[in-house]
Symmetry: C2
Subunit: 234 residues, 2 copies
């Protein structure tokens, strides 16, 4: 089976509940793969693995899916072997990646997804599907042993992509400036996914879905927009 | 001689030129220390060390100070030994810290400043004066060998501190949320310095200067404001 991913910008869009804007897509995505292992390692707001798993479980049960937190297994590698599919929630990308490395899960998770187990990620959980986490927006609150990520797609992700605010008087860098700086030191493309949009990956095919266009950054080119429904290819 | 630092939130406030809002303070700060070594390693927008040094040189010459880029010395350790004082400009904190580690400059620079050579930093150049760079706002576009910083003050810095925008519909974390997450994994205080403000360090004394209050984050406490002119002490 070829790989199948949903790489989602954000779990929550303004004014709607947790994953409320894409319930049908999640149901269709997992299909008959009902036993989902949730990876709560990104711990948004510092909440515990148990608390975070409850949030995901509640929503997924509404959609007819069963959820078990990876931390509930004695051996997290066994969780990966037993899962029908995966959902990695958002939070802090560094905390997430460090825990995956510490538990020796990078290769097992990557292999499971390459071999066809569906993987859905939101925000930090999307970031780690790229080549590296070098285009995360998060604060580096812990030091992971590497910035290399799952490398399930041949580019980097920038979730929660945010356009410059022309009225801002703040002098911090815009998102676009940051990604341009990234390209002084790295050559992979970056896909900026706006809130409410996501990528669906089927084998080597990558399609932009959801309401909004995405912004693409390639080294040595001006950034450009691709409309929703487009295939993304480099 | 005791240490003397200016830890500045931003080089540029909205509507004013480079360092234009604090010219008198810079002159007074360096005083008779006229031969300043500029550290351009943070490379804002990816500009070269030469280009960046020219920007700093132009402004510092207007103030009667002489500037040489650390990269202009054959041996950057010699630059640190020969300098009367230091100015580290903003840009990307990871790029800056990585270059300092690669050139073996963390200890020499720290020692020179501990022994009394004045140090001014803006933005990324301020970030590295804290215990770690774990409260930078920057994108991790390169992987430094550690997040440990110069440790010239017993806390972390968050430059360009930004209050939450109550009108925002963006679901990315606010700065305050990010720093709260930091405190799930780290126990040092964080000083959020707003644009237009800075800390002046004299020995163990830390004073908030400039127009605005600062926001202080301590583990296990609600964040609080300190007015400009206050001593900051933990």
């Amino acid at each position: 089976m070829s790989k199948h991913l949903l790489i989602v910008s954000t779990s929550t869009v303004y004014g709607k509940g947790y994953l409320g804007y894409m319930e049908e897509e999640i149901k269709n995505f997992f299909g008959e793969n009902k036993n989902i292992v949730f990876i709560p390692y990104a711990r948004p707001g510092g909440i515990s693995h148990d608390e975070y798993t409850e949030i995901a479980r509640k929503k997924f049960e509404e959609l007819g899916l069963s959820v078990k937190g990876i931390h509930e297994f004695e051996n997290p590698k066994k969780a990966i072997a037993e899962a029908d599919g995966f959902f990695t929630g958002g939070g802090n990308t560094y905390v997430l990646l460090k825990q995956l490395y510490e538990n020796g899960l990078i290769e097992p998770l990557r292999n499971a997804v390459e071999n066809g187990k569906p993987y859905m990620g939101t925000s930090a959980g999307s970031n780690i599907t790229g080549l590296s986490i070098c285009t995360t927006n998060d604060m580096p609150i812990v030091y992971p042993p590497s910035f290399k990520a799952l490398q399930l797609v041949p580019f980097n992700i920038n979730p929660h992509y945010l356009d410059p605010n022309p009225d801002s008087k703040h002098m911090g860098e815009t998102r676009e400036t940051r990604i341009k700086e990234f390209h002084f030191f790295n050559d992979q493309p970056v896909v900026g996914i706006r809130e409410g949009s996501w990528l669906e990956v089927m084998g080597e095919d990558v399609t932009l879905c959801g309401e909004l266009s995405a912004r693409i950054f390639e080294q040595g080119k001006e950034p450009y927009e691709v409309p929703t429904g487009s295939k993304i290819k480099f």
